[in-house]
Amino acid sequence: MNTPDDIRAANPSIDRPGGHDHVDVATMVLSAIADVAPEVEPELADLDHDVDVWNELQLDSMDHLAVMTRLSEQTGIEIAERNYPRLTTIRSLCDFLAAGGD
């Protein structure tokens, strides 16, 4: 699994001011993706947090909804459909969740 240390090791750029939040939230986001799509798990450690994650991992609309549902359940944060277009990268998802939604 992706522990915060794994993710930090794979993505040195995320250790920056406020980066700890990002790492913890990123762990949750990546775990949600791994739960929905176990086959992509090997790709997660090296995943660039600034690319379109759905395209990069070839996740379809059903996977997308399943991941969003999981994150919403785990955080209690409503993720409205109108926010989907800007929640395409791990970083944008983390920023959104860390800020408690919009």
């Binding site: 929905v36 070839q58 919403s72 409503e78 459909e81």
Partner: protein
């Protein structure tokens, strides 16, 4: 093994699709003494495509489990004996054990004539039965042929040590093989005709966005569910496209069971169906779809989803191609495809405007219907998509 008497009946390895002729129980969910009811999950069966939870079709009490875990058995082999409670199934004195009747293509046709032991040995040793010359009755491949092949020094494919007692049979290769056989049959036997129609999905997208905006995430509906509903309603109105081509004639299905092609990330696809999708609400279809896709991707499909589909949908999704000229899954007679949503210039009231469009295609069996019926089906589909509030 003694045949069942009047007080008992046998539960047989079900056929979980036209391309399955054997399977193995890898987990029991019942034990002798357990009372089971129709619809209960009794075991997990490993097939070449997926692990599938199999359901029982009659109430009863489990008397005995008849096969071992991991034992490969042919479809129709009794795997559990049950004591009757209440009615149970009709007694089958003298009759061969049959599985639930489903309209499926001939399994024997694609199968290499072979003995069960030969198949088991071949599977254990990684030998393709089709590569062997059979010396048994009617050219059937028998044990000796497999043993000869596996010891022949000239056969590099044969592994030297058939040590693993229970090798995994399923792989991307076997999945590929199954799809290859099935689609080859479809292309060889089905005279396809192909039709296409652009669906203006502006009303659908607007209606869905408004509907979803007021709902928590687990009650939101995706366009895919709307397409399933629309196909189900259209198929209910055009019954000639909803059913099976069996024994040189069209057999209409009594209900509209819409299968959905679900691609698997390890390669290949499975097509679980939603039974009576025309009688379910949109929310129910969405819930059923979510459940089946998740099950398909985690290898936990239910047997009742895998047989009896009357029409199939392939939905390419947001990142797919513009349209698909599909190949029908025999013995069905129609496959409906939905391409990627696109913004296209359209003529509306004499002006050119940009509209969101999804191209729907129909691949249909010309033995069962002609293009006129197919065209009417697509027209109905367009009308339904234009009035999403009715879905």
């Amino acid at each position: 093994m003694t045949p069942p008497n009047d007080a008992t009946f046998d539960y047989a390895m079900p056929s979980l699709g036209a391309d399955m002729d054997e399977g193995r129980v890898i987990e029991w969910r019942i034990a002798p003494g357990d009372t089971v009811h129709r619809g209960d999950l009794v075991a997990v069966v490993e097939t070449e495509k997926s692990d599938i939870d199999i359901e029982i079709w009659h109430d009863g009490v489990i008397e005995e489990l008849l096969v071992d875990l991991g034992q490969l058995v042919d479809v129709g082999t009794p795997i559990a004996r049950l004591r009757r409670v209440g009615g149970g199934p009709p007694t089958m004195k003298g009759a061969p054990v049959t599985t639930e009747r489903i309209a499926e293509g001939s399994i024997a046709e694609r199968r290499v004539a072979s003995s069960p032991l030969a198949r088991r040995l071949a599977a254990d040793r990684g030998i393709e039965l089709g590569d062997l010359r059979g010396s048994g009755p009617g050219g059937a491949v028998v044990e000796a042929d497999v043993l000869a092949a596996s010891t022949a020094p000239a056969a590099p494919a044969a592994p030297a040590a058939p040590a693993r007692p229970d090798p995994p049979r399923r792989s991307a290769d076997t999945m590929r093989q199954l799809i290859a056989e099935r689609m080859s049959t479809a292309n060889r036997e089905i005279p396809h005709y192909h039709l296409a129609r652009d669906l203006d999905v502006d009303a659908l997208e607007t209606w869905l966005a408004e509907r979803n905006a007021n709902r928590p995430i687990d009650e939101r509906v995706l366009p895919a569910a709307c397409f399933i509903r629309a196909v189900a309603l259209a198929a209910a109105r055009h019954r000639d496209l909803n059913g099976w081509w069996v024994d040189n004639r069209f057999e209409p299905a009594e209900s509209v069971n819409v299968a959905m092609a679900v691609s698997l990330r390890r390669g290949g696809l499975v097509t679980p169906h939603i039974e009576r999708a025309d009688e379910r609400s949109l929310d129910e279809v969405m819930a059923a779809l979510t459940e089946r896709v998740a099950a398909a991707r985690t290898g936990k499909l239910r047997s009742s989803w895998m047989t009896g589909a009357s029409i199939t949908i392939t939905h390419l999704g947001d990142t797919g191609a513009d349209l698909v000229h599909g190949v029908i899954s025999p013995p069905q007679v129609a496959l409906v495809g939905f391409g990627r949503p696109r913004s296209l210039p359209s003529a509306v009231d004499g002006s050119v405007v940009i509209r969101p469009v999804v191209t729907a295609t129909l691949a249909a069996d010309h033995r069962a219907t002609d293009g006129a019926i197919g065209s009417r089906f697509l027209a109905t589909l367009a009308q339904l998509i234009d009035h999403p509030e009715d879905l």
